[in-house]
Symmetry: C2
Subunit: 360 residues, 2 copies
Amino acid sequence: MPWELTHEDIERIAIGAGILGTGGGGNPYRGKIRAQLNLEQGYRLTVVGLDELPDEALVVPLGGMGAPTIGMEKIGRGDEGRVAVEVLQDRLGVEVAATVPIEIGGGNSFAPIIAAAQLGLPTVDADGMGRAFPETQMISYYFDGIAPSPVVMVDSQHRTFVLEHVEETRLLERIARSICVQLGGSAMVANAPLTMARLRETCVPGTLTLAHRVGDAVMTAQQRGNDPIDAVCKVTGGQVLFTGKVTDVNRRVERGYNFGRLTLAGLDRRWGATATIELQNEYLICRVDGEIVAIVPDLITLVDSERGLPITTEVVRYGMRVTVLGIPAPPQLTTERALRYVGPQAFGYNERYVPLDKSS
Amino acid sequence: MPWELTHEDIERIAIGAGILGTGGGGNPYRGKIRAQLNLEQGYRLTVVGLDELPDEALVVPLGGMGAPTIGMEKIGRGDEGRVAVEVLQDRLGVEVAATVPIEIGGGNSFAPIIAAAQLGLPTVDADGMGRAFPETQMISYYFDGIAPSPVVMVDSQHRTFVLEHVEETRLLERIARSICVQLGGSAMVANAPLTMARLRETCVPGTLTLAHRVGDAVMTAQQRGNDPIDAVCKVTGGQVLFTGKVTDVNRRVERGYNFGRLTLAGLDRRWGATATIELQNEYLICRVDGEIVAIVPDLITLVDSERGLPITTEVVRYGMRVTVLGIPAPPQLTTERALRYVGPQAFGYNERYVPLDKSS
């Protein structure tokens, strides 16, 4: 049965998507405000399950592209997603049945819901990452190596770009990113629709529901005076990797991404004295006292140590008291084929992927 | 009456377009070979005058984008222009009547003729520069500041990009150029069609005919044992600025353009001891013994001192014996409004535009 989001649902999804977003995916607070605004304007924000649309129904993967620090300041007009889907339908001469997130992480959990709502369509409860990643070829829908075509980009001034016949996803990413940089660092991107049958084969299922559950766990724990971090670990199968204070934030915008490194000083000797976390839009690799304790595609996420709320890469700053969580990647990301796109090598690291020790 | 190009016409246009191209516009030899190949394949390469199509007929400005050094090596498949015009027609739901060069310079004199021939259309005898320039906003059709929309880019693998609602021509240039860089440095670009009425208002007229006349003057002089450089000056109103030997070629690819500087040592004291010429795809400013003797938008062109044949920026090299010619810019480029787009400041120079001294 379709799920119509309420203000409270949006609140929970924002927290959960922030935690699953591993620091990226666009600011979740901004996404939340936009979603709630659409709700107030009378739009119905509807989520459907993977079994609620027929095999041949067409679903548009959609999300914002850009560096998170830029997305925070260049907030868009709010209808870019709708326009992008309309251009896509027009170009292909088809009607689409729904949208689906490219990534559940951050504000990009809401972007497809908002676009769909403005078109009177639902959004499918799934995504292409189960988290957030910085690049197009890291979306599970494209792990076969074939780029979506056409792809439509729309910015806050309704500048519109239709990219067609770019067969390699990495090249598509480079081209789209270079356009994005010229537009000032952010744009909405709608990819060629998938059939529901194909989506079911390639997606990470149920991630809007998961985000909601994670957010609900945090809020419920807060209300009851329980430890919200425990609650997150329970829902996600995650674990605490480190707890400490942010002592150094090295963050820059380069080629349309945020890159950087955080340094944390330990506040609890159980976890170690120093941690470093490297990032490209998202947190990618966490070292404690020089040893890797978690590495992409496993989820590394920062939450504030008091309330368990997510701290994304664009807002993290000196002095914050944070807990670093490690959450096992969904199985769709850890196959040999998937690791070619989302494993450590795909981000330029020499380290091998070693799954989080689930027993620790 | 439509003018059907012969092998000999193509030969002449290639020389003339090379000279008018001020070093850029794409390698004219490559353009010539491609045009002659199309002729051999049975295509009719047809040029029509500005008075041969009705006011409301739609004309597509077309040309290759890229750094000349790259265009020399990445030679394309030969049908990119046709595909770009087809995509444009499809997007707009219109039939176009003709193509027109964006620039007469270099190989870009032939690109629209080849595309039109493959579509069974003619090319209008005009262009948007009367020479070559490196950037989109330097095309006279857009001196009103309004960017063409849509613009279609197609590369040698038929990767296709439709750019729409980019209202500022300089931004359009930056976006298209950044796509071009990602594609490996060259692509064919078809701009939204103009009506013939608008084209007549904004173009530099008769430049395919002019290129033919310049080339014919060179070849005729060569055949008769006359000085081909004198012949060029007579047809173009140009003058010799310097004659010497190339002693230094500083040329690099940057942001999808060629930038650089040539140094020449004088061989005839009448003209001076040393000359330097700065370039961005095209030759922009020529100094002799430290004094500016010609500056953009006036045409600065290099020809070999023996045969009067053009030496473009991608082939110029150490040791060549060259004559530097200065040719007055067409009047369309020297209005106050035009100079905002094609004057020295538009290229980052502080120097004022001082027209070539026609009396020297």
